[in-house]
């Protein structure tokens, strides 16, 4: 298997191998905390931090890993970094930490991270693993932010908690379903559908 370069790893996260739009991993936080841009950004940054940490450690240890114990090492590493991220948020962003509630500790079971450890970090150089973490993390953050912006604007009439419409005029027209769980499914479906459409068009254009 040809070594994939750090640059390719970094780029893949945004479009070709986007964790949300293509791999469709980490759906639990995607659906649950994309109801506002603030939540989406904090969750995205926390996942990026954990990805960086766990990809770094996994890549450093990659030649020592035993096949039957590797998942144990991955989980241990991820849990360690998630706990640090959780403590940091509780200490420095208490309001955001309260809003995200159990979804910060739940990053431990976010399959994006363990998938990157398994697919990339455990068989790549440190450089490629770090590039992969940043690319995947930002790809996840961007996808979540798009959902967050649409859902917050349509559902609450605000962006980053600041009103975008006149609150009095907006209230009767608020699309409350957008900030509730069904809104997440609807928007995610539309987003993945749109991304697939673009992909199809490009593929067709390339063939013709």
């Amino acid at each position: 298997m040809a070594e994939i370069t750090a640059g390719q790893r970094f780029k893949a996260g945004f479009w070709a191998d986007n964790p949300t739009l293509v791999q469709v991993l980490g759906m639990c936080p995607t659906l649950a905390v994309s109801n506002s841009l603030e939540n989406a950004l904090v969750m995205g940054m926390a996942v990026t931090f954990v990805l960086l940490g766990s990809n770094l450690i996994t890549s450093l240890l990659r030649n020592l890993l035993r096949p039957h114990l590797r998942i144990l090492i991955f989980t241990l590493t991820i849990a360690g970094f998630v706990t640090i991220a959780d403590l940091f948020l509780q200490a420095h962003l208490p309001a955001a930490s309260k809003k995200l509630g159990p979804f910060v500790p739940l990053i431990i079971v976010n399959c994006i991270i363990i998938a990157r450890c398994e697919v990339c970090a455990s068989r790549s150089s440190v450089r490629a693993a770090l590039a992969d973490a940043v690319g995947q993390g930002l790809g996840f953050t961007i996808a979540l932010s798009i959902l967050g912006v649409v859902r917050e604007v349509l559902g609450s009439g605000t962006l980053l908690n600041r009103p975008v419409f006149d609150p009095q005029a907006f209230k009767p027209h608020a699309w409350v379903i957008m900030i509730l769980p069904p809104g997440a499914f609807i928007m995610l479906g539309i987003l993945i559908g749109a991304a697939n459409q673009v992909r199809l068009r490009r593929a067709r254009g390339g063939a013709a």
């Binding site: 649950a32 450690i57 240890l61 020592l64 890993l65 035993r66 114990l69 144990l72 090492i73 241990l76 590493t77 849990a79 360690g80 706990t83 640090i84 403590l87 940091f88 509780q90 200490a91 420095h92 208490p94 509630g101 159990p102 979804f103 769980p181």
Partner: protein, 189 residues
């Protein structure tokens, strides 16, 4: 045997120990700030659960800490009582208010909970908590399914989260029963 065990697992042991040290460091670094955030959240909640409170004094009633709340003129307007206990998933921490004569509950605020998102976490919502305002504190309240008949003693449980709801009620009942006699005695004030 031991040699085989160590040969297989030394990496897990080393990584585990490494993370234990790292987490201890993180806890030591972030701990004081987290404790301070919690203190500030509690103090803010005290003003929410005791209407008219402008300032407070901390004092202890038995093993519990309570807040004696005063208005701007220094008149006693009520008491705020922090309490905690087990919910459906994990510890629930809350603070509730008592009127100056300790006979009525004046408000409830949930400080920390890890109940099921979408069900149990509705105990945080203002509309549900508002049911506690005006409850009779002299006898234990209870939770009911459906609309309460006796609004001075009953609170409608959150649908799908009976255990979370009764847990909150139990925590409030227990703390109120424990604290009220101490606040009624002149020596306790």
């Amino acid at each position: 045997m031991i040699k085989k065990f160590l040969g297989e697992s030394w990496l897990v042991l080393v990584v585990g120990t490494g993370f234990a040290v790292l987490l201890a460091g993180a806890q030591a670094g972030f701990g004081p700030r987290i404790a301070q955030n919690k203190r500030e959240a509690l103090e803010q909640a005290v003003f929410e659960v005791v209407p008219g409170a402008e300032k407070f004094e901390r004092l202890s009633a038995g093993a519990r800490q309570v807040f004696r709340c005063l208005d701007a003129a220094g008149q006693l307007v009520g008491w705020a009582v922090p309490a905690s206990g087990f919910g459906f998933q994990d510890k629930i921490e809350l603070v509730f208010g008592l009127s100056a004569d300790t006979n009525t509950i004046t408000g409830l605020k949930i400080l920390d909970q890890k109940e099921t998102p979408g069900l149990g976490n509705k105990i945080e919502e203002a509309a549900w908590r508002a049911q506690f305002k005006g409850l009779d504190a002299t006898s234990p309240g209870s939770t009911v399914k459906g609309a309460p008949k006796d609004k001075a003693h009953e609170v409608q449980a959150v649908t799908g989260a009976t255990i979370s709801s009764t847990s909150v009620m139990k925590i409030v009942n227990q703390a109120a029963a424990e604290v009220r006699p101490k606040l009624s005695e002149p020596g306790g004030r």
